[in-house]
Symmetry: C2
Subunit: 187 residues, 2 copies
DNA sequence: ATATCAATATATCAATTTGATATATCTAAT
DNA sequence: ATTAGATATATCAAATTGATATATTGATAT
């Protein structure tokens, strides 16, 4: 497998459940996974091609004859082995890339009202995401006994817990910046 | 300024406080900023070159003659304007890229012990980062009245608050996976 | 019937980022 | 005098991003 291409593992993980086309994969990633990992056609299609060459996945013939072009992929034994091997590796890369925090860090360059507004924009965004995740959570709770759903549930509660922490921080941060709080920031 | 190059803004933000070389900039980014934004020589040096051409920053002559090559950059009036303009833009990109959550999501492919171990690896990593951030926080609290330090303080407390939420989630997640908790996950 | 819009589907491209590596100098300690 | 580590600039292959091109199919409205 390509040394540093993380999209490969996302694809293998998704294919471990069902056969999917590149387009299907994009849709799956844009769903619940999108909260912690991104993918684009620009990396999905090249990854599918090279993993097929390497024998980690295989092309399935389109069942319906004469229909629109559609290339579903199937995970091979080697692919499953590569997926398991990655899951068992200790080394992971976890990265935050928050432009909001960057803007906050350089807040001294503009008026405080600008920074407060940026926090409010972030707050609204978090609230929107939180609403989506809470819907996911409710739906998952109905089927938590089913295979694998406990893992989806845990990623969703991770999102909910962190977003709720963000909201609390937003409240404190706005108070500190509007001067309504003195040093006792922890309280 | 280059349309989609976020490193430009990081550089402009850092240069708004003091003149810096590419190497200095890398060190600054690897410090407190590294928790929410990354940079590498591979994007810093090209960004410095092109921003100098665009007149957003300017090269300062190395003061000591005959000394080692050293190219400190200074922000221009146009550069400051570009920085302020970015800070006032509403649109931001905030992204999580957590391989740990990816592994959790695909946990069904391996034994539960593997997933629990992955959570524990994450937990240890979070604890290490939390210790560093708490040190930053203590140091910043001594100088909170100084210009701009309130902004650094807020980014640090953001990190602390979210990492603490992560730790709580880790405890709950491990309980759920070891079967020590039934449905009442919220409690 | 047919026009139109949204969804399905594959594919490619320029710009950017990442992570590693190459090269060289200076400083401090042994 | 030698070595190790920090300083410093620079480049490269591989990967990612975000946009765009192209074409088909299915559903809705006229």
């Amino acid at each position: 497998m390509a040394k540093d291409r993380k999209i490969d593992l996302v694809i293998l993980g998704l294919l471990s459940h069902e056969d999917l086309t590149g387009y299907d994969i994009k849709k799956r990633i844009d769903g619940a996974i999108g909260f912690f990992w991104k993918g684009s056609f620009g990396n999905i299609y090249p990854a599918l091609s090279s993993m097929e060459e390497e024998g980690l996945i295989s092309k399935k013939k389109n069942s319906k004859t004469g229909s629109r072009e559609r290339i579903p992929y199937h995970i091979t034994t080697r692919g499953t082995k590569a997926l398991r091997s990655w899951l068992q590796e200790d080394q992971v890369s976890n990265e935050l890339r928050y432009e909001t925090l960057l803007k906050l860090y350089f807040g001294g360059v503009v008026d405080r009202s600008v920074t407060i507004r940026n926090i409010e924009i972030f707050e609204e965004d978090v609230k929107r995401n939180l609403a989506v995740l809470n819907m996911f959570k409710e739906n998952l709770e109905k089927v938590l006994d089913e295979e694998d759903h406990v893992f989806y549930y845990l990623t969703v509660t991770f999102g909910i817990d962190t977003y709720e922490a963000y909201l609390k921080w937003c409240t404190k941060a706005k108070k500190l910046l509007t001067g309504k709080a003195e040093m006792a920031f922890d309280g």
